[in-house]
Subunit: 420 residues, 4 copies
């Protein structure tokens, strides 16, 4: 397939230079279904990016679409601030019954503004309020969002520089395996906490991703996460898991931390929580932390009711039993096999991942970009991540068929070969 | 009409204590159309709050609803990051043709995350980057959002305290009429800027609302806004108008600053820009300020395409000619007449406003809450604002009929009388 | 008298460009006595600067000199950290008997590092610790020192820029008469404190100079100071008077705030407290504020015992009775008369002052520098102050004779005439 | 010898609770000579603390005393701001001839306020100004001073808490041997600098002590210092050596970094630079860094001329040849032998040091305090350091005789035995 770059005039003349994905994927997309998008010229693309993890159930999933149209047709509340609505109640009950109760998770549910960064901002505020301390520890190559609170715990130097002010109150610690196993876990962090002369401001909380997506698909081991939870308990710090990209089944279980058997104090969810790509986010926390005053954090669109409708439908359709989790693990094995074969032929690459999130790291960062560029020409949407964009990131919808997955992986193999 | 408070069980047991509006309006809402909501018991409510200004065209506006359902039905892109899509192109072209070009406004358009606070965060980042300074001046009783960057330029002490860190890099200045006309405009601000010994960190920008909604419906005069623009030019500071609540026709013209004849350097829009209550926001700026690097600010849901569809439909339907603006001014006169009559009978109250945003301030703050509580019992949704919640805020949909408006205003009059 | 600029070689080649006074006074000084300095070429200079207020009793005052030499001769402790010494005890007892008790001042005494900025740092730390708040209010054109804590409450933009980090946690308010009496005192400050929506972080303390020396000899009225004290009490903020330059008798009474009849919560002293120009500083505070833990603030040279010796001698010699205060007021009248005459002839100048600190402000800042330059040529040491160095500052030793004072004032008059 | 605790009344009633050393040494000291102090009851104390390193040439050193008295007698300038004086010139020339030139050090000399923390503040300001970055890296258990700028790069949690504001813009890194050699030097630091996703704000400078005095006598190896210098060069960061306590011969050479063969970009000196315990400090830097504007940093007592006189005399008397350095090393060997013997008998203690600064660390921190308390009873002044005050610190005057040193070491041995 050959793609003719369309005239992007209004995007180039009117939209800000800040736009990014559209530069690597110079098409004007029009429709989408499942794992496929179609541009206005009728070209079809297989989606291995899934809205950066926002489309775990595929584009315009028919089950959710039906529920959404029904709701709109019947003039259900669209914009509800934080008013009680029947749609919100249905979501809350479903979330409790399908997600929280079976996992024995005691969380209260907060609806921040419907974006990931807003969920993180609310989590950080709450942790600081509960502990009465300003400092928060994050990890190397973390990504938590672009508003000032979230950006201060984000690692990327380029994004941090955009703040325009010195970002403070956050201290980075080495993520799992940062030194390839040569340094004991938490050696530095724990020593700083225990040494009264270390100069570390005692943190209110630690914020962590179980798998760092933007940071380069860095996978934390279950024992590392457990040790982190124990360290937090021992040192009176709250543990925040930012499950915005890795939650909602991306790694297998609904929450990415289930596998490790930990129960974070605070959890943020967004991206795929609405299931349909509609803006929505949640901040979950243990009941004893719920010391918010009414309205102490708010947001105009926190009651995005159409998203509640698709969210409840997605939970009902996909999480009432364990099929999705099982299928994600199987699809993950399929990816792993393919990457094993690709890397066997390509010694400058290595791969890692969990569930349906995988990364292929190239020694030469330019190679990763070249692979993605070639993939686009061949109708496959792939993106890079990592501090130098050196990692090709695989994030297909969880609902992708084995055939589609196989097709995409074969295209990837071809791209790797052709860019050698 | 008498409302029986419903059993709010799951809201009370599962949702965080942070919830607020639902406490003053103890109903479970189910459907809505135009200026009316219906709860699950079939009670009807007249909406004088309009989603805090997010529903300028009423709930589930039929014209927008049609466009939205058509788009969803045909599997248009739902979640598009910042990819080029046909829906985004249609919005951009419409925004340029219907809004920017007729007003001779040169702005570039940025899509931040789809909430107001995210638009403000991007505006502040850009201003700081352009000027290379950290400090931003805001005004007394300003409200710009709840993430850390926006919160630092927000006035409310209760909301600021929620930050959990000292909020810095912002300095408040007196808003128009803060001293009831006894002090010359900008006396203090200008003197601080000119005095090399004043201790003010030179600001990168000034952020202002033309009418402070959350701050108590404080209306800046056109000449004050013009003088502010001149001060910004003279002192090499960028002027940011936060038009999130007052833009999209709320005060008459599409932008609230049109009447003053000023052209801010940066403008933020959100709330009613999608027209249908869907999350969406824009940051507009003069082309010479567009020094963003690709991806220097981003957000997962910045390409909320269903919102682009309703936004374009709303612009086409309501802004291709000047009818809405004319009608808003007429409806505003209707409100003004009614408030004049109410305040003639109630000497402890005074009112102010512009277009279709009005406030009634009571000497006793408790009275404002009592009026809203009684209004709810009578089926009218009203909220307070102001630093002590001493102002009853009128924010009906722009599309409200004169009859509905009259009905609500009569109910308001009754509430004022009955709470005396 | 004509001065030949000496070869300043080692100063120019080895000392940093940061040096300043030596540029305006290009002589190499060798000896000094009372109000006169002598350079290495034998030229004599009359000192109207007095070490920026550090030499209230003149250079090498014979009474203090005797005590100092005796102490050194007998091998009294020179460096004592915060150990108890007989010299420190003598100072403490004298300070209590001569200064605190007769004025009924209840202060505890702290010895910070022996510089003014260190005293201010300790005052700010203590205020923040006591109140548990970060913010401190200072005034336009305040000067409190050059270390980061003090610099954040200092007004001068040039000096602030030297910090290299954004200075935060301080907010400037208008000093007395900042708007020439056109705005009621504390209108803005009080309104910000009372308005819960003002955006002002509630301050722990207010720091003020009764006469701003570096800021341009701005004299606060007694009623303004009293109103400030009342405002602090009403709003639960500590009142810190920085009496480093204006204390030790400069304005008449030992403390410059005595005349206003106020009792600040915290007072900083330095400059002339040792009397002999030796480094020493004190931080005084009400006993109930003394919540310091042992060693929570310290400093290597806080026990500069030779300074304790001269300090005690100075208090004994000059403050056991009211003669100095009386004499300072008389000398002040002499200055006032002379300035009145000078300004009668020079309409672009105006003057102000109290006790023996006076300023002459010129419309054209260059004129003030020209006056000082000419004065140096004529053997008179004068310096400028104010945000644009537009004020000629008169700060002669308190012990100056009427003849010397007259001589200097006549020279000043001549300089004003000759620079017209 | 038995000491009767004297009545400390005025210290207890008038002086602030912040006082500390006087609590451990409950005597009122009166006179001192060389390594001995005498209290008012005539008891004599051997000084192994030397004014925290401010009295390297002993108390009231007769050579310096003579020069000082002569200067005072002849009415030399006492207080000179930053005016050129004959005393300052003599110091500058001596410093250049005796210290800088023989060591081929190119430094410019700045006179900050005459305390260590002021020197550090000026060093940090300059580094930030030169590099245009806010962040500075310090090390675990560093001590740099108590004003806000210095405190932000100081490790001790108790002292940091005294700031009353969150201390930011500083990041601690592990000092040499922090992990007992199990982790490669600078592994974490270098990785953070190289990883664009690490979250570390790029530092303007690194500030380090070659031997951490307050931190517990932690001795950096020469190769570690060299590697640090190389890292700074490679990463475009300035290297600041804080030589306030370890400079002026404490470790052997005049500068403590000479042995490592490095040339820091900026050096701070204070404590023993005046030689006589008089307040004085210097900030030295490479000429190309001297971008200060005149007066951009200043301080009332930066021209403490009596200190210049004793400083020049000390340099002349002790540094014109290499005898002091040689002698310090010999005395250091004497200490090392004694500590070796003591620790051979006391397995819970270990020791470390360089030149004439040594520490004995006890497993049980209370033991270190007990040793010091017993030492005081026996007429020996000893202090603890380290994050838990677990290290007994030996800091005798460099001019101590072998007999005095032996006496003190025997007393120390006795104290260790008697507190077992």
């Amino acid at each position: 397939m050959t793609i003719t770059p369309p005239a992007l005039s209004v995007f180039e003349t009117l939209e800000s230079e800040v736009r990014s994905y559209c530069r690597g994927w110079p098409a004007v997309f029009d429709r989408a279904q499942g794992a496929r998008l179609t541009d206005e010229d009728g070209h079809s693309y297989l989606d291995f990016f899934a809205g950066a993890g926002s489309l775990n159930y595929g584009h315009n999933n028919p089950v959710l679409k039906r529920a959404l149209i029904d709701y709109i047709e019947r003039d259900g509340i669209t914009h509800g601030l934080d008013m009680a609505t029947t749609a919100k109640r249905a979501f809350l009950e479903t979330f409790q019954n399908v997600i929280l109760r079976p996992r024995d998770l005691p969380y209260k549910v907060m609806f921040p503004g419907p974006t990931g960064t807003n969920a993180v901002e609310s989590a950080l505020k709450l942790a600081r309020k509960v502990k009465g301390r300003e400092s928060v520890v994050s990890f190397t190559n973390a990504f938590h969002g672009m508003s000032l609170g979230s950006l201060a715990v984000t690692g990327n130097a380029f994004k941090r520089a955009g703040a325009g002010i010195p970002l403070v109150h956050g201290t980075p610690m080495p993520f799992d395996n940062y030194f390839d196993g040569t340094v004991p876990d938490f050696l530095w962090f724990e020593r700083l906490l225990e040494d009264q002369g270390s100069g570390l401001n005692k943190p209110a909380a630690v914020i962590v991703e179980t798998v760092q997506g933007e940071g380069g698909i860095n996978v934390a081991r279950a024992e590392w996460l457990r040790a982190l939870q124990e360290l937090c308990e021992r040192q009176d710090m709250l543990l925040i898991v930012d499950d915005i990209q890795m939650g909602c089944g991306r790694t297998g279980g609904f929450f990415s931390f289930e596998e490790a058997g930990i129960v974070p104090d605070i959890v943020t969810l967004s991206k795929s929580i609405s299931g349909y790509g509609l803006p929505m986010s949640l901040c979950l926390f243990k009941p004893e932390l719920d010391i918010w005053e009414p309205g102490e954090h708010n947001g105009t669109f926190r009651g995005n009711n159409p998203a509640f409708v698709t969210a409840a439908a997605a939970l009902d359709a996909y999480w009432a039993d364990g099929r999705v989790e099982q299928q994600t693990k199987e699809r993950g094995l399929q990816v792993e096999q393919a990457l094993l074969a690709i890397c066997a032929e390509e010694p400058t690459a290595q791969f890692r991942g969990r569930g349906l999130v995988w990364g292929m790291e190239f020694e030469d960062p330019a190679r990763a970009s070249a692979v993605c560029a070639r993939a686009f020409e061949l109708g496959l949407l792939l993106e890079t991540s990592g501090p130098q964009s050196e990692v090709v990131k695989l994030l297909p919808p969880l609902t992708i068929t084995t055939e589609e997955l196989d097709e995409g992986l074969r295209t990837l193999a071809r791209c790797v070969r052709e860019t050698a």
